[in-house]
Amino acid sequence: MHDRTIAELTEGLKSKEFSSVEIVQNYLDKINASDLNAFITITTEMAIKQAQVADERIAKGNANILTGIPYAHKDIFCTSGVRTSAGSKMLDNFIAPYDATVSYKFNQAGLVMLGKTNMDEFAMGSSNESSFYGATRNPWNKNKVPGGSSGGSAAAVAARLAPFATGTDTGGSIRQPSSLCGVTGLKPTYGCVSRYGMIAYASSLDQAGPITQTAKDAALVLNVMAGFDEKDSTSAQRDVEDYTQSLNNSIKGLTIGLPKEFFSEGLDNNVASEIMAAVKEFEVLGASVKEISLPNSKYAIPTYYVVAPCECSSNLSRMDGVRFGHRCDKPKDLEDLYLRSRTEGFGEEVKRRIMIGSYALSSGYYDAYYLKAQKTRHLISNDFKKAFKEVDVIMGPVSPTTAFDLGSFKDPVSMYLADIYTLSANLAGLPGMSIPAGFSHNMPVGLQMIGDYWSESKLLNIAHQFQQVTEHHSQIPLKEVV
């Protein structure tokens, strides 16, 4: 039962093949038996209760499509009454008194939360190794990282510990772990999903989205997640879309742009050939391919590593040991309270980014760093605007390599470089997806698709058509590995 997609599970619930309680129990058993460390908190009792309520709703006939479907929630979304740690010691004791808008919408829809998934501390990292709770392991090879920051979510879906999971993507945090774990991940257009109650890393880049087995499932979940929220000033006031509507459209005549910058040195040869094989598949489906250039994408890494740290240095200031979160023992005075609480509560990577951001924003450096980064950000967006006049979708790799070994990156900057293909979409606010495109040495390879603003339906359509003719997305890690 746990290998099924959301679409299949909803059928089973409708036909009374099984109840929500049965599904949920099944997943909970599997989570408890797993040693991937994909979850920070498992909400067993609450999940069973929610499943019972869902079963009642189904029986009474007032259920939504996803009522009774379980999911794993990234531990960055506030959940009333359940700890929200953001993978940090700082919030190890933090229980929010309110629900994030995404959590609220899922509750309303009757979805059942299985638990909260592991992640890089405050979503800062590409390997899940910066989590206070220890790294999640990649279900395809436990010595390898699942990617990050939504590594717990991607690993959980890959290992079929949950039919889907939520993720957040600031510089690739949905797409990269999805790629490394061989699942489908969608980062919507900035402003599509409310950020209210999602612990902020870099506010102008953060965007939540689903991590699923299939594009069809992603469409079903996005239907619940997306929409204007008056509590988030940056959420867009748009009409609600049905993202499943155009899944079955033909993609004949589609023009795919391949940016030459995404296939340059540094890209693993095997990854490159898997990507090109996938592109061939699209040509078979009637798409044409065009080489394009995103000349300013070379500035994506320096731009991102100024913008994101600047914003996070300010966003994380509220973690001061005064009202919630970690407080040091017996502070001598105010200065000591701040200094020790934050020194003890934050991990290395978080401190590094706070330092970078504080430096870049300080007087005398602001113009040279923050302002300059805003300008290059604009240039990067313009590259895409130009490109989308010529092509319908941009494709390339998500990550230069497949999942790397745990502990293999000693130097933070070389890890930053692995984000090279994903950062641009965040800086421009564009939607992006990762879909399973093949394997290299038994590790999954993800194909990245970047679309124009608000082209989620189009991306899901393209991905769905690909998944109709390929099997990469339905590969499951060997049971003995999981």
Binding site: T84, A96, Y98, D232, S233, T234, S317, D320, V322, S358
Partner: protein, 477 residues
């Protein structure tokens, strides 16, 4: 050496919106600690600010009132610093793109009109309060005030004396209440003043080094603090020293200013645009709409009082200095249109004197404008004399009560019966032969004596105009 004082003011006016600037929590003053702080005000992880449009409208209102340029695209920034009563670790404020740009207002000091430039006015959120004296060894934090909307109004360094500074501050204080954007309560901190003070040798173009004075919560203290600081700077400079650029705290009890932090210790606030808030876009339509809703402003009201009511410049200025006073005055005018001067005299005379003596705001006057209006009407229609009216006014002040009833129960109705008055006049003429002689030899002023005697004899109830007439008739005969 002759020194010139240079002063600029930063005024923080709390906007009287129902809810906070970025959350839906109430802004009511005086509630139990932390009972009016929602998850947004508490700065919990994950929460986001949503701008209160009412605060924007009120800021625009102010801008239009001081003929300022309204920045139709303005931006909120984060001002980063750590303090326990600043929950997010940053204050949302406006740095480079404030909502209100350059404007100006006129002030009058010693009948000289002076233009004071307003550099800018920007929206920001207030911080909470740290309470240091409630628990031993602990500081308590009350976040009820956190997120209350503030309009920070920054002036140009255009003032040259503490009197000018106070006049300007009072003018702004009056304005914000006129247009109903701030309750102006200085005790509760809804209207706060910081003063930037420097001095320079008379005639020198370049500004001296300034200090910023904080913690001033009354106009009186503003004047005192500035005078104190000017003297301090003068002593330093004349002694060959140098003034340090610093923030100084005014202590009204010890009557001194003391250093709070120097320029070197000042925070680097690491301002940057708040990514949680979109730039504010103000449409032409909204500007027009707010313009149309603006009440009559003091300048306009003053001009109308002079033109339509024939008031002197001084009277019109005083009566329009506060909205409540102007309103009060306008109510007394009702049915007393032909006695405008009497209304002016009563409001600026008797009423203001008693209010001042008892330290009562006009809003809380024991005698309502309607009652005073009736009292003036009774003078106008000769029911009572002006003198009796003053006694009635005191009764109204002390015991309340209706004008007509007081007249009736105390038997204060004016005597207008000429036969009665003639009788009294005859007696006075008979008993004061010497004064009669003086009158007849051309001393017109002596008539006052006769009228006075007659008033005394009638306990002030006789109509002085009739008395006067009868005396003239009888004495000239």
């Amino acid at each position: 050496m002759q020194w010139e004082t240079v002063i600029g003011l930063e005024i923080h006016a709390q906007l009287n919106t129902n809810s906070k600037i970025f959350s839906s929590a109430s802004t009511r003053f005086g509630a139990d600690p932390n009972s009016q702080a929602c998850v947004v005000d508490l700065g919990l992880p994950g929460v986001l600010p949503v701008l209160n449009k009412e605060a924007v409208n009120k800021a625009i209102k102010f801008g239009l009132t001081v003929n300022a340029h309204i920045n139709q695209r303005n931006v909120f920034d984060r001002k980063n610093y750590f303090y326990p009563d600043l929950p997010k670790g940053y204050q949302i404020s406006q740095l480079d793109w404030p909502i209100v740009g350059k404007g100006e207002i006129n002030i009058t000091v010693d009948e000289d009109v002076k233009i004071i430039g307003i550099t800018r006015a920007h929206l920001e959120e207030d911080a909470g309060k740290s309470v240091h004296d409630m628990f031993d060894n602990y500081t308590a934090v009350d976040l009820n005030r956190a997120g209350t909307p503030l309009l920070e109004i920054v002036s140009e360094p255009d003032m040259r004396s503490s009197i000018e500074a106070v006049t300007y501050a009072k003018k702004i204080h009056s304005l914000v209440r006129y247009i109903d954007i701030c309750d102006g309560n200085m005790q509760e901190g809804s209207f706060r003043c910081d003063a930037n003070v420097s001095i320079r040798p008379m005639g020198q173009e370049e500004l001296g080094i300034r200090t910023e004075l904080k913690n001033i919560n009354s106009f009186k203290f503003l004047e005192k603090a500035i005078n104190l600081e000017v003297q301090r700077q003068q002593d330093i400079l004349e002694g060959g020293g140098e003034v340090l650029q610093e923030t100084r705290l005014y202590d009204s009890v010890k009557h001194e200013t003391r250093s709070m932090r120097s320029k070197e210790e000042a925070n680097d606030y690491r301002y940057f645009p708040d990514p949680d808030l979109l730039p504010v876009e103000i449409s032409d339509e909204l500007l027009l709409e707010i313009k149309a809703q603006l009440p009559e402003l003091p300048v306009e009201k003053k001009a109308r009082f002079i033109k339509d009511l024939g008031l002197s410049d001084y009277d019109a200025d005083v009566l329009t200095s506060q909205k409540a006073l102007a309103n009060y005055f306008e109510i007394t005018l009702k049915d007393n249109e032909s006695n405008t001067k009497l209304c002016v005299n009563w409001v600026m005379g008797e009423l203001s004197a008693l209010l001042n003596r008892n330290q009562i705001e006009i809003e809380n006057s024991p005698v309502s404008a309607q009652d005073l209006s009736l009292l003036i009407r009774r003078i106008g229609d000769d029911t009572i004399s002006g003198k009796i009216a003053k006694d009635i006014f005191k009764t109204m002040w002390d015991e309340k009560g209706n004008v007509d009833e007081i007249i009736k129960t105390k038997g204060l109705k004016q005597v207008t019966d000429t036969a009665v008055i003639e009788n009294v006049v005859d007696k006075i003429i008979a008993n004061n032969a010497a004064q009669v002689e003086q009158f007849k030899s051309g001393n017109e002023k002596i008539l006052g004596f006769f009228v006075g005697e007659a008033m005394k004899a009638t306990q002030g109830k006789a109509n002085p105009r009739i008395i006067n007439k009868i005396f003239r008739l009888k004495l000239i005969k």
